[in-house]
Amino acid sequence: MNHESTSALPAGLEYSEGGLKGVTADWSADKQAFPVPWGKAMMWIFLLSDTFIFSCFLVSYMNVRISTTDVWPNPSEVFALTVFGKTVPLFLIAIMTMILITSSGTMAMAVNFGYRRDRGKTAALMFATAALGLSFVGMQAFEWSKLILDEGVRPWGNPMGAPQFGSAFFMITGFHGLHVSCGVIYLCVVAKRVLSGFYERKGTYETVEVAGLYWHFVDLVWVFIFAFFYLW
């Protein structure tokens, strides 16, 4: 390939053609296949494996919902909330969805300010993201306790219909909630390092982007849970 004409580019980006030719060049040349920071490539591969885990949960949920002969509890009614004397279907879930989307927005902007080397704004936006994530977990805790204590839902049965409802619900939302909780801790650690100038000394803010990838993935998983578990 054209080493001479593109030699001004940094290492790993010599092959600047795009498309399938670029794929061939990236894989067949005797060099690193993905010209991205290793942390980013590893995070993507971790997220790919996580995609398979969540997909297994959602597919098994689909399987038990298809195969049960009992009636499936209507999520629209189960997760309804009475607000100001009026019963609104999926009220809390809608708010949780909006909160997670908002947190994704603040995280995307944090990554952007990170690359602009604006430490204050980056850290502030990351802490805001973590706070939104924390409120999401709080609402989930409220939802779980309401379901367990008031509605009597257990992983092995519930008074509303198919017993598989409980196991699918606790498994899927529990695993997602665990991811959000870990994400909050992860974001706080990275944001603290942004503030302390750790990445300034390191010379790159790519760790902020990698943390952002994880956070957006948590939001992404919720999109699928919202569609398949709550709305279906």
Binding site: L9, P10, G12, L13, S16, G18, L20, G22, V23, D26, F34, V36, P37, A41, W44, I45, L48, T51, F52, S55, C56, V59, S60, M62, N63, R65, I66, S67, T68, T69, P89, T97, M98, I101, T102, S104, G105, A108, M109, V111, N112, Y115, E151, G152, N158, P159, G203, T204, E206, E209, H216, D219, L220, V223, F226, A227, F228, Y230, L231, W232
Partner: protein, 138 residues
Amino acid sequence: MAHGHSAEAAAHAPAGGHGEGVQHPIRIYLWIWALLFVFSTFSYLVDYFRLQGMLRWSLIIIFMLLKAGFIVAIFMHMAWERLALKLAILVPPLALMVLLGLMAIEGDYTFVTRLQSFVQQIQTPGEHREVPKFTPGH
């Protein structure tokens, strides 16, 4: 990596792929944020207005895929990655479609088998046993 490196990489903006991140205007994130809000509201309204059947399912899937696409492409910067990385991450999940199809067939089969079994239990009264009703707390 030195400071100059990122400025250089951003300045060159090579076709796809950005080692240190191309700087996009904040505007694009606000736009996507607003779009995600709109799509979420629409999918919530599908439930609120109690649309049913094929209309409900197709609307849910369309809004879901739109949201997922924008999150991956813009928020996760996949749109600006090189094709090699895009393929490595986006192609393997397609294998899940096979799992999905197999488990849907399997689920249907289990459902039919259970129905047959329960009908037989009802038709032979001697062997029919009452399944205890679930009560919370037990």
